[in-house]
């Protein structure tokens, strides 16, 4: 389901690494999967626990996903994010969710994804020091 990205973002590239992971053409260390989303370890972790969650659909960014995806996929994706946090045991210890939108915000892979980071005491998202890099 190709969608129309915002004009400042490149169109969806079906060969981006997360698309290849979703098709099983590239490896990942899977954490959680359902019909709406796949979660896997970030290969360049910026925290002891650093997992990426991607929707099963062709969306370049959070803005694209939120504007274009059907309600069921949006709700299913965010429920999957919560399940991933639960699987990781992060609801008790706490975690941070980050999504970078656009090249100006250091988005590197243009398949919408969110970062889940935990495993140590985190300062507030707005006081975090370096911008976390994307997984690849």
């Amino acid at each position: 389901m190709p969608s129309q990205p915002p004009p400042h973002l490149a169109p969806y590239d079906r060969n981006n690494v997360f698309a290849r992971i979703l098709r099983g053409e590239a490896p990942c260390t899977k954490v959680y999967e359902d019909e709406f989303a796949l979660a896997f370890d970030n290969i360049h972790p910026a925290a002891p626990v650093h997992v990426l969650v991607v929707p099963k659909g062709e969306y370049v960014s959070n803005a694209d996903f939120s504007a274009s995806a059907p309600d069921a996929l949006i709700a299913g994706f965010w429920r999957a994010v919560a399940r991933t946090a639960t699987v990781l045991g992060l609801n008790e210890s706490g975690y941070r969710l980050i999504a970078n939108h656009g090249p100006d915000a250091t988005q590197v892979v243009f398949h919408f994804h969110v970062h889940i980071m935990g495993g140590r005491q985190l300062r507030g998202v707005s006081s975090q020091a370096p911008v976390p890099g994307d997984g690849t």
């Binding site: 949006i74 429920r79 008790e92 975690y95 980050i98 939108h101 707005s126």
Partner: protein
């Protein structure tokens, strides 16, 4: 209401500051509002643009909201976040962040996302 099992996350407190803002009992610099969400400027901005978006419902955290809110509320909220970014003129680049639980740096226990863009302050 909160139904999650987070050990360290408190139950929803109807007197938290964001609940008061939603009821009009505390002021805010409003940026956007629709039936699902309210967005206003963070009073302690950490970047040139720093806005908070909150859902119109009693959810303590991202996990609670994602587990418990009805699908149209979840999609409505996230669509509102995108509209906030467009309205702020930061669609070329911004970060969305949410802290979950005391260990995640969450301070106000009404689910909220930070929308950040521009140089840090």
């Amino acid at each position: 209401m909160s139904t999650n099992s987070a050990a360290m996350t408190p139950a929803y407190d109807r007197n938290n500051i964001f609940a008061k803002i939603l009821r009009g009992e505390a002021p805010c610099a409003k940026v956007y509002e629709d039936e699902y969400a309210l967005a206003f400027k963070d009073i302690y901005p950490k970047a040139k643009v720093h806005v908070l978006a909150i859902p119109k419902g009693e959810y303590v955290s991202l996990t609670d909201f994602s587990q418990s809110a009805p699908p149209d509320m979840i999609s409505g909220f996230w669509r509102a976040v995108t509209r906030v970014a467009e309205q702020l003129g930061v669609a070329g680049g911004y970060r969305i962040g949410s802290n979950v639980g005391p260990g995640g740096g969450q301070v106000v226990f009404h689910f909220h996302v930070h929308i950040l863009s521009g140089p840090r302050q």
